[in-house]
Amino acid sequence: MAGRESRIRNGADMPRIRIIFEKKEWITFVNHMDLPLIFSRAARRAGLSQEFTQGFSPHPHMSLGPALAIGVTGLAEPAEFWFNQWKEENYVLWNSKLPQGLKILKCAEVDGPALAKSTTAAVYSISGTKSELGSDAENVLKDAAAKAGQLFDSAFDCGTVVLTVGELNRCGAGCLVNALKDSGICSGWPDVDIVRRSVGTWDTASGKVLPLI
């Protein structure tokens, strides 16, 4: 809201930049809610001029994708940022100022519906760290996803369960781990390795998750 107001106020067109980034290795232990500050400090270091929200406590205008649980690797996470100006080559500079483990893979100027509207599905892969998961795990995870949110698709291969789920705010990695724990398949977070492979828009016709860029 604040962004739109200032756009009108300034009469300028603030570029809205959508990025797809990865969150890997140690930095997966950083909370999702800490990411706005991390990205905006990196943008400052890169000398990029961000648009600020109006109001009592102005902060850089941005919008994050669905929360990614602590400890979960994200291979293609979306976020959006508003800048005062934007040049294509900025993202190389921005990338060079990010802490280790975070990397912007793609970016594009977008308009249209808000990010939250477009993120309707995610693909998770779940495997065991101490022992391989069996097909019983796949059934448990399918049930959990269907119950908590929405299950679009699932597959099982060599000890890894791949789930495509919807209703991302209700069906996150936490509920999947809890389901495995409750069924006695594992004892909790240390026993599983979860990766969110992609986040995007569910396309019923093709049965696929369409990328956001």
Partner: protein
């Protein structure tokens, strides 16, 4: 070490603890770890949580300084919260340095900062989880050299058996010499290293008692001394989440209760030009959105007004907030804060310290009734709604009248606020006074726990205004702080034993367990009371006499006498008081010997 991150057993441990981001490193400005075998590897260890330790400017400076030496590299470790400690012990896994994830025992040097007496048990946790023998005497040639600095290093005896060498004074000047010696003696015996360290001025090696007091070393020209051009920027919220610029070291006010003001002499200022340049560099390199000007009394900085003017365009252009952590109690300081757009939110904090003029003269606070009233008046006139006031209880010569004076000031604040039609919330923090070594009150008895609690309750109970809220420090913690602040080496076994029985994070009320301390003192037959309850004779030998902070004992005695006759000592910028630094330090106010 594990082949990949995904096989790393530390990943599994972190998956089971709260706020694992404390333990991963990966911050902007940390690392990269230097390659090579001829590098002296130093791990700086902060004996408290990451959020606290990352807010400490000293480590930011020493980290950058160490990395700037071509023969050394720096990494960091912080005290693990008990959940991680339990997980590490379960997995029999050593604690690691954030950057390389190396175990602490693989370092050449582990360097602690001792900021606070109640973090001593955490020093032992870090050593033990680092698989380093707790006692200096038990360490072998291939164990790391354990060094320590910070204010508590000036009264080091309670932790002396755990530390190989103390750095007395500014680390910016002493540490490079210590690290050089340790680098050049790599592969030599521990005894040789200790001997070489003991020869450096400003280094105290407990195993090699010095024949004359160890003299505190200082950096004289701060513009020419190492300061940060880069800083480590946390990925997660910390206590002071901003760029910190130290605008001067020391303080000229001479408050008699204040250890920092005595042990950090003489005053040494940065120039405005150099600070502005540093601020520009750091804003660019860190991306931080806030800037704080740090010192013992930033409003006393002679360059403040000029610097604030020069900051203006820099702050506006980048939407940067500026904060002054401690405001002097007078209208001038408040008016200056009022000009800073970014200070307009929240409230202002003042420290009158004592409730009556008589007692403020005893402690040489240098703040008059009029200063307090005018500061409060300016605060509410400028539209602030809240003030926070710091006071102490248990100061030498304190009576009920002085405590009542605290209430008077609070009530006055409320009525001034009413006059200016402001909400006027008054938040009071009442700390128990702890006499510290190297101050004019180092010989005084500390008020006992029962009386401290009584006085705290008395003040709290006499608040008649709903706008005033007060909290007083836990007297048991104040007592323990006092014991260690003026303790001797006989206390070391108590620290070790209480730690063995599970004591951790004594500064955190949720972990502090006084009964555990009491039972340890009883079982080891240590009379803890004796360290705080008696007035020491001024001729008696003190456990920190072998540390010379630069201020002479004669000066402290004279200040003590003046305290009891209520005689103020003026700010030494107005003329030298002869504390011991005159003619010794080549700094603006001390260059010339007192006539």
């Amino acid at each position: 070490m594990a082949e990949t991150f995904y096989d790393d057993p530390r990943r599994m441990v972190l998956a089971s603890v709260k706020r694992p981001s404390r333990y991963i490193g990966c911050e902007w400005g940390s690392g990269p770890v230097k390659d090579g075998t001829d590098i002296l590897r130093v791990c700086y260890a902060f004996p408290d949580l990451y959020e606290v330790g990352m807010s400490y400017l000293g480590f930011q400076i020493l980290y950058g300084l160490t990395k700037s030496l071509d023969f050394a590299d720096a990494e960091r470790v912080y005290a693990p919260w008990p959940d991680l400690e339990a997980a590490l012990r379960d997995a029999d896994m050593p604690i690691w340095a954030l950057e390389s994830k190396r175990s602490l025992s693989d370092f050449d040097v582990v360097g602690f900062t001792l900021q606070y007496e109640l973090s001593y048990t955490n020093v032992l946790t870090i050593l033990d989880l680092g698989k380093i023998p707790l006692h200096s005497s038990e360490r072998k040639d291939n164990d790391p050299m354990v060094i320590a600095g910070g204010p508590c290093a000036l009264t080091p005896e309670p932790v002396a058996p755990f530390i190989d060498a103390f750095c007395i004074g500014d680390g910016e000047v002493v540490l490079p010499e210590m690290l050089r010696v340790l680098h050049d003696l790599r592969g030599h015996s521990r005894a040789e290293k200790l001997e070489a360290l003991a020869k450096i001025e400003g280094v105290y090696v407990p195993q090699l008692p010095p024949s004359r007091p160890v003299r505190r070393r200082i950096a004289e020209d701060l513009d020419e001394t190492f300061y940060c051009r880069e800083m480590i920027v946390p990925n997660t919220g910390i206590v002071h989440d901003r760029i910190a610029l130290q605008v001067f070291k020391g303080c000229t006010r001479g408050c008699r209760f204040c250890q920092a003001g005595m042990i950090d002499r003489p005053v040494r200022e940065r120039s405005s030009e150099s600070i502005v340049k540093q601020a520009e560099t750091l804003l660019k390199n860190t991306g931080w959105e806030e800037l704080g000007l740090l010192s013992l009394a930033t409003c006393d900085w002679t360059q403040l007004a000029e610097t604030l003017k020069r900051f203006e365009p820099l702050l506006k252009e980048n939407q940067i907030k500026l904060s002054l952590p401690s405001l002097r109690v007078d209208a001038f300081s408040v008016n200056m804060a009022a000009e800073l757009e970014t200070m307009r939110k929240g409230g202002l904090t003042f420290a009158p310290e004592a409730g009556t003029q008589r007692l403020r003269d005893v402690i040489n606070k240098g703040v008059s009734e009029e200063d307090i009233i005018s500061a409060l008046d300016a605060t509410f006139a400028h539209g602030w709604d809240r003030v926070k006031l710091y006071f102490m209880m248990g100061l030498p010569t304190e009576t009920e009248e002085d405590l009542a004076g605290i209430l008077d000031i609070c009530n006055e604040a409320v009525s001034i606020a009413r006059r200016h039609k402001r909400h006027g919330d008054v938040n009071v923090s009442l700390a128990g006074f702890v006499p510290k070594g190297h101050t004019p009150f180092q010989w005084e008895a500390q008020l006992d726990r029962v009386s401290l609690r009584e006085r705290g309750r008395w003040v709290k109970g006499h608040i008649r205004n709903r706008k005033v809220s007060l909290s007083y420090h836990e007297p048991d913690q104040t007592f323990l702080e006092g014991v260690f602040a003026r303790g001797d080496v006989k206390l070391a076994p108590a620290i070790e034993e209480v730690w063995r029985r599970g004591e951790r994070f004594d500064g955190w009320t949720e972990h502090f367990n006084f009964e555990r301390w009491e039972s340890v003192f009883r079982d080891l037959d240590i009379d803890a009371d004796s360290y705080v309850s008696r007035t020491r004779n001024v001729s008696e030998k003190l456990p920190w006499d072998h540390i010379d902070c630069g201020v002479t004992k004669e000066y402290l005695k004279k200040e003590r006498e003046k305290a009891f006759s209520g005689e103020p000592t003026h700010d030494c910028r107005k003329g030298c008081n002869g504390c011991g630094w005159q003619g010794v330090a080549d700094t603006e106010w001390c260059r010339h010997a007192k006539d």
